[in-house]
């Protein structure tokens, strides 16, 4: 196994852990953090491949992903606050108005 594959494997592990977190937890903020973890796993893939290919475009992508993640954090957390103000809870099971 060469150097690149190591990084990609680590990335896959982190991504899978993130997935498990999203699927098993009910706390919206923890779910959100797990999503951030998944994003970071992808970022690692980008940087590793960028380095491997000798091209900086992948790292620019990472930069943009970080920006989007920042925007997402701002809006997402604002949503959680609004949600919490209404339901006194941050449990995703309480967000059930759309349920038939």
């Amino acid at each position: 196994m060469d150097n690149l594959t190591n990084y990609l494997l680590v990335s896959a592990v982190l991504f899978s852990i993130g997935t498990i977190g999203v699927l098993t937890r009910k706390n919206a903020i923890v779910m959100f953090m797990c999503i951030e973890l998944m994003l970071n796993a992808v970022n690692l893939t980008f940087v590793a491949l960028s380095r491997h290919l000798g091209n900086l475009d992948g790292q620019i992508f990472v930069f943009f992903i970080m920006t989007v993640a920042a925007a997402e954090a701002a809006v997402g957390l604002a949503l959680f606050i609004a949600f919490f103000n209404n339901r006194e809870s941050i449990d995703v099971d309480d967000a059930n108005l759309m349920k038939w």
């Binding site: 690692l44 900086l56 920042a70 954090a73």
Partner: protein
């Protein structure tokens, strides 16, 4: 086994364990702190990959800004620990799905091959010119428009956050 491989192994162990802690901790604060640790590990990886600028940004943006925001929100909402409700089948299903994803990815990675298209940016070039300058050159030439558009995205997010958090929805 050279010193860099050992270092890589240590960082990997820390990263995976802290990532698992994020998922398993009952208290969201603990999860958040574990996540910060994971982000530091990732920054280390970036540094090892000759991308010091990305490492710096990773710490400043993720560990510095986003995580502070998350921790702040957790503190603000004063969420109780969600120990009371257990959904075994959900946990089982989620874990199985995650593991299947992992296995498939590993399978995919070990089978596949990345073509060695050596680009112009090698370790020597990075050491000679400097990573930040290289990133900046690409960012403000080829990716100038997306870079500017990003600012609109951030503005929209800012306005949206203010509006959402301000009023109490009926």
């Amino acid at each position: 086994m050279d010193i860099s491989s050992i270092f890589f192994a240590i960082v990997t162990i820390v990263a995976v364990v802290s990532a698992l802690l994020v998922v398993t901790c009952k208290n969201p604060i603990n999860s958040a702190l574990s996540l910060v640790l994971t982000f530091f590990c990732l920054a280390t990886y970036y540094a090892m990959l000759d991308a010091p600028f990305m490492a710096a940004v990773q710490i400043i943006v993720y560990a510095g800004a986003i995580m502070v925001l998350i921790v702040f929100t957790i503190m603000l909402l004063n969420i109780r620990v969600d120990a009371n409700k257990k959904h075994v089948h959900q946990v089982a299903l989620g874990t199985v799905t995650g593991i299947v994803t992992l296995l498939l990815s590993v399978l995919f990675l070990t089978r596949g091959k990345v073509a060695m298209l050596a680009g112009p940016v090698t370790s020597d070039v990075i050491n000679q010119i400097g990573h930040t300058e290289l990133i900046g050159a690409v960012m403000f030439t080829d990716f100038l428009l997306p870079f500017e558009v990003t600012s609109i995205l951030l503005l929209a997010a800012m306005v949206g956050a203010v509006i959402l958090a301000k009023k109490k929805l009926s």
